[in-house]
Amino acid sequence: MRISVQSEPLAPWGLLAEYEQQLNARHHGKHGACASFVGTMRDFNEGDAVQGMFLEHYPGMTEKALQQLAEEAQAEYGLLDVLLVHRVGELRPGEPIVLVAVWSAHRKAAFEACRSLMEDLKRRAPFWKREQLPDGHRWVEKNTTGY
């Protein structure tokens, strides 16, 4: 399991390729399924053009909360592994914000765990988005529903 919060640009496919090499060394042939999700910054939200975003977090608590969520999902769905990386700081449209990937023996657990982990992250992990609009900034007040 690897959990991280980073201010550098997030390259999800490179991270996955790299992580999966280690993972194959640990349980080659045991995982039949990997489900992943990448959330990316859009250039629109609630009908407005968005030029940039600042992602604030709570250093210490954010990592701890992500770790708890990943461990809960691993236990609940019997996952073989979890990779969870979240971006913070200043972002431009088109840049990835979050990567959630889970590995399991069968696909049902992978699909369900990936989605559930992403929803839990949105509901419980301490991150806050401030959007830069043409005429000022605003804090995003709540996430869209995921189900």
Partner: protein, 87 residues
């Protein structure tokens, strides 16, 4: 603790604000001295100068979510923040 009934001791609580609440309070945190029986909500009142806590404010003590009525201990880090919007 033996001092529990004396009422004269105070606790030092490390307060943090995040996101829109930080902007609203004009600071990202402070250390406050508070009486030795206090909840997170009491810490809010002390740190905010008596302002009402905005609806939906989330509260964490030592980086764990808690109910605002949860008691605080000397040295605790108590954080207040708006609903989270990551992912």
């Amino acid at each position: 603790m033996v001092e529990a009934n004396l009422g004269a001791q105070t606790m030092t609580i490390h307060v943090k604000f995040f996101a829109s609440l930080k902007e609203q309070m004009g600071c990202d945190g402070a250390s406050v001295e508070i009486g030795e029986v206090a909840s997170a909500a009491d810490v809010w009142l002390s740190a905010s100068g008596g302002q009402p806590m905005p609806p939906n404010t989330l509260v964490a003590i030592n980086m764990e979510y808690v109910d605002p009525n949860q008691a605080v201990q000397d040295g605790d880090e108590v954080a207040f923040f708006p609903p989270v919007t990551g992912g």
